[in-house]
Amino acid sequence: MSSPLLETKLYAARVRRRSVPRPRLADRLAQGLAGRLLLVSAPAGFGKTTALAQWVEGSAGSAEPPAVAWVSLDAGDNDVRTFCRYLVAAVHGAAPDIGARELDLLSTDATASADGVTALLASLLNDVADLANDLAVVLDDYHVIEAPEVHEAVTFVLEHAPPQLHVAIATRVDPPLPVARLRARGDLTEVRAADLRFTPVEADTYFNDVMQLGLTEPQVKALDERTEGWVAALQLAALSLQGRDDVAGFIGTFAGDDRYVVDYLVEEVLQRQPGPTRQFLLRTSVLTRLSGPLCDALTGRDDGRRTLESLERANLFLVPLDDRRQWYRYHHLFADVLRARLLDEQPDQVARLHRRAGDWFESQGRREDAIGHALQSRDPGYAANLVERTVEQSRRERTERTMRGWLARLPAEVVAERPALGVALAGALLSTGTTDGVARALDDAERALSAHDGSTGLRGWIQVYRAGLAQAHHDAAGTLTHARGALDTLPRDDAVGRAAASALLGLASWGAGDLDAAHAAYSASQAIFKEAGFLTDVLGCAVVLANLRTSQGRLQDALDTHVSALDFTAGRSAAPGALVDPLEQQTLRGVVDTYVGMADVHRERNDLAEATRLLLAAEAAGEHAGLPQARYRWHVVMAQVLQAEGDLAGADPLLDVARESYVDDFHPDARPVAATQARLRVAQRRLDEVFAWARARGLALDDEVTYLREYEHLTLVRAHLADPALDRAVRHETLGLLGRLLTAAEAGGRDGTVIDVLVQQAVALDGAGRASAGSLEALERALQLAEPEGYVRTFLDEGSRVLDLLSAAQRAGLRTPYVRDLLARSCHPQEPPQPRVDEGLVVDELSPRERDVLRLLTTELNGPDIARELVLSLNTVRTHTKNIYAKLGVTNRRAAVRRAQELDLLHPSRTT
């Protein structure tokens, strides 16, 4: 599904067999291994890659050699997902125990958002923190990186690096990373041009010991001065001197010349090559990577492989990119000089050579490389053809940034006349957070489409993106129209398109308060995702569907929605024959959100222990198992659980975190966290702050009511009803607002809101402690709706006034078990919260064998090791592990160990 990784980019450079020992530099580099970042910053040809290779080689001889993950960056790594794929693959290659899960994540859409990327890196760093040995990550040619997202990713890694991790960056330009901060903390070792220049002594070793040119001391000095110790120039000079009779004459002329030193020396070197070799060098200089067959495609000859081997033997600036002598690159500086010559001497060849390279890469199925060359072939139609063929793959792999980059390099008129490219441009823009230019791209695509018939797929996608654009502009009517249009147009087999259109339809209905329509649309979307096997999206839809059910006052349906989605996805991931290894089990993204949604239902039903257990399980599943809103959702529900337990002070900071974690994902925000916090303030009797919040939000008792503001209005109502200064006029206005809210909620079928409104009505109609008939009637209606669904907190969270009303209702004859139960649960409001996990229970439940396995889970041993250690079959160990996770309420190994430590289960003395 994903495009294959280029192994050559992960090939660690090797030190040349014959090289100059440079102890001065080696010391400086060794310091780098001690710190967090080694920055090698110098112009081309200063031997940065060699320096890094020496660093790696030097550390390999140390007592505990670090694992080395090497990435040679190129322009394609400006797509942060591509960058991460190479980074993680390199880490996985260096430390095979880690990175596999993150690589899997990268082939899903879990990392489509910036949050997803951060979560991925956090997970990778956690794994690194568990490594016994150090890990060195080398990022070579970092100057090709321009994308802020990649700089942010690298910054994140540097800021959160565990002590085992050492990063080395080689670059021609100082990178926009927080180097000053690292320098201040002593975490940075810098190696710059001055450190890399060859001293006269090193130059002497190079010319006379390594190259055996037999130069005199003044000759070496003259060369070192003329080249200023520039390594590439010294190498070129040595090449020019090899086999030359008049050494003194050459050095004299060179030293007395003021031409650009590389120009001069390359001229000398090229002149000494036979004609065919010269031609080969010039023509293949357009390539960023060279192989024999690829060179043959460019030169029309069949000696590519042999020529490359002989160039490497002759030290002609050819850098091997693997151990198999298949792929090479020219030294960057040498390649630039060759390309400039080619452009000057054979200008009309350049485009032709790129075209041939494009064809060759296309024939090898390496489309990205093909496009790179096609874009330089001066044939926009050819390039556009290739780009067109990757549109679908790019949408699947979420590499929209790369797509945007390619489309930007095509002439606008070529994009405009190709509907597939216009639609791709619109999608790439929307998914990278831009609405500018989307409408025009879609208009162009539509115009181009009208020229020919068919292409219902594209017409459908145009509608999908128009709906997305309308949604981004908060145009609900426009979203509905276009989403419906998309569903009418898209072919039946375009699952992704139909699901996207359905979800947009649901979003628009939801925002307009039409919950039934929203539910129907999201159900349709979820059904498509189920069929297509997009498991994370199945869970994402479930979260929305359950939210809708909760608003409708259907708590049991909400819970069932979560459970059946979890069952569906669990069945799926376990289905393909192989048993899921619980030791290595990775939690599906979206599971956190589902747990949190279930916890919320249990909280409302006052099963706070179950709610807490689910929240802890969600936490243990880890950040990578959450959708972008997971962190926000978790903190809101946890705060409300604490509030229910009477810990108002503890709830407050959690709501602060929730507020900071909120991500605007275009979903209607029916329960703004600020309003939830205002309700907490009401309970804390800090009414001034609540009224200030209401003023800032422009809330008033005589407002029109809308679905999206009803939660806020019901918060304002609570503040007024809790206000000791409440007078008759304000009470009247409050009742008026409640009446309007009730009518709207009943009309919209939002029974959850209806219950809430009725409870507040009962409070408002309650005359000074003596329950009025109207008050009791409202309360009774609320109870009728609430009982079948098991609502508890909606009543109990309102405190003594509602409890008094419930008692009054009971005295007045409402002696149902439900009312008795509500009152009984409220009898001990100050009772300390229940322990989150019943310690004794767990300890009793863990069998001796499970304890054995649990103890080994804290070690470095993997599943098969544990099985051997305990003389059990692997499957038995897996079963024990599953049971342990279930009993500890966790979903992965790390959380199990943490939980076991918390519960002190690891000491043999505790075993029975």
Binding site: D258, R259, Y260, D336, R339, D344, R378
Partner: protein
């Protein structure tokens, strides 16, 4: 690959970039048609119209890639000689 309108005034400002060392004439194409003058003091001056700031940074990056030391970059009045503004891209197929 863009197709500018023939009547359109050429866009961009004129710049003069001085470098340490003498660069041969063959680099003219590499620097998108800027004129290249070797001076007696062992420096080279690149001069001509640069479409926008991004293009200017592109030229500077190419110089950086070659490891050529920069001496100065200055905006200058346009050259009266029309030759320099209409120099065709040598890579353009005819």
């Amino acid at each position: 690959m863009s197709t500018p309108n023939a009547d359109q005034q050429p866009r961009g400002d004129w710049y003069e970039i001085r470098l340490q060392g003498r660069l041969a004439q063959r680099w003219v194409a590499w620097f998108d048609g800027l004129t290249l003058t070797a001076d007696d003091d062992g420096t080279t001056t690149l001069r001509g119209r640069v479409v926008d700031q991004a293009a200017l940074h592109g030229v500077l990056q190419r110089l950086g890639d070659l490891g050529v030391p920069l001496i100065s970059v200055a905006q200058v009045p346009p050259d009266p000689d029309p030759d320099h503004t209409t120099r065709p891209d040598p890579g353009e197929p005819t």
